[in-house]
Symmetry: C2
């Protein structure tokens, strides 16, 4: 584990990342001590930093730190960037260095190659608040995700789907949502809440090249239920088919494999 | 500074307080190495823990830690409680000890006895998102406050006032809002967003005993501008009169002194 480039598990307890969640993060896969999809992850990190008026660390330095903590075989690396430790009070200091935390974690069971292709999901009760200033950004204010994930303990349920307070479906607690309907791809608009993940971004770039029309927009729960195939995606699990959503089930379809190929084949 | 009762400035960089803002905090005044309004602060901390399904630490232990870090004279102590360090992923572990961070800070200039009784405020552009599940709670997801506070750097402006996305006034970036109009007290309802501070709670308990009617409800910006006296309050600054809000000014009034007395005279 590296904190500001030094091997340590410890950080300043006055850090604004702790005090206010004043920062952003990334969770990415590694293979052979190298990050997968690095260009996309760094671009997203830079965009998220800009949304919070943070200066993103140098790409080469961050890449070197990810490679340094990554272990042999397949794994996950998490990067946390915060506005640093220092002055009390909400006003963001302009002259203070960021805090960088970079650490490795083993690949979770559900991301192993032999994990099932299909998963079971449920609807969450919690409704996401709409905040356009923070929408799409993978920032450290994730209490909504924690509360939503706390709604179930049944280990057979892999993911919970969330709507906003107007009833639009936004995505999963830890994933983005994709639908196929009559050969066209639909995914929720994330202009008011949710996190725009790198796997979703890669798919939105790759799928049109396959000749599949893509629609980003408002999706009511009924649109999910009426879909031919429902999928979730993120950088760690890739694309997974939703076989069951509470009482609704879907038969096996081919789109999950097609989108997974598109996700991994896309330019790196 | 104490982290889990040990004298150190450092904490585990895998803490869920950093990862997700998964915790709550308090900022309270101390005098002669004792916390002011301790009973109210502990009650609020317990309520906020309950809202996040956290088990609040024992009152006597926490009180002892506050007294241990407090310095001579007047100061401020901050308490941060998080769901602890450990398992990755949003699911809250049930069996993991909380992290407690308790530290002292000097009394800020604007809270000194000789600080001016009146302040200048401005309207913020950022609109608070409405999330009833987190409303009122002083949790660690405070990016909205950081972004709102970043809207100005002019040191003559002390506070920014925030509305929600429906146009209701909620309060200040770091304070609660109070109005007097024709001898009655009005303060925004915090059922959908904002933080219900301890100073506000003490005033809502004390003011009716003075025979002053109290109204908690929806306040449009026009209600602020039409008020006889506008005030902000929190545990560190007490009650301060808003003398100017952008282009609107108010003459000196007596209510600020009356409410300040009520705030400090209330049962401790």
């Amino acid at each position: 584990m590296l904190v500001n480039g030094c091997e340590t598990d410890l950080m300043d307890a006055r850090d604004r990342g702790l005090a206010y969640g004043d920062g952003v993060f990334r969770t990415l896969r590694t293979q052979g001590r190298r990050p997968l999809w690095w260009r996309d992850h760094y671009a997203k990190l830079a965009d998220d930093c800009a949304a919070l008026m943070l200066t993103c660390p140098d790409e080469a330095m961050l890449h070197a730190e990810v490679c340094q903590v990554a272990e042999e075989g397949k794994g996950v690396v998490k990067i946390v960037l915060t506005r640093g430790a220092g002055a009390r009070g909400y006003a963001p200091p302009s002259d203070q260095p960021l805090t960088r935390v970079v650490f490795h974690a083993p690949l979770p069971a559900h991301a192993q190659a032999d994990a099932p292709e299909a998963i079971t999901a449920r609807w969450c009760v919690l409704q996401l608040a709409r905040q356009p200033r923070l929408a799409g950004v993978k920032h450290l204010n994730r209490l909504e995700n924690v509360l939503a994930r706390a709604e179930w303990t049944d280990p057979s349920i892999f993911e919970g789907l969330l709507c906003d307070d107007l009833g639009a479906v936004i995505g999963g607690v830890m994933s983005n949502l994709l639908l196929m309907k009559e050969g066209e791809l639909f995914t929720p608009d994330l202009g008011e809440c949710g996190v725009a993940g790198v796997a979703r971004t890669r798919l939105l770039r790759a799928v049109p090249r396959l000749g599949i029309p893509v629609h980003i927009g408002r999706l009511p729960p009924a649109a999910i239920l009426a879909a031919d195939e429902v999928m979730i995606c993120n950088s760690v699990i890739g694309v997974r088919r939703v076989a069951r959503l509470d009482e609704t089930t879907w038969p096996h379809g081919n789109w999950t494999a097609i989108l997974n190929s598109a996700l991994y084949d896309d330019v790196d």
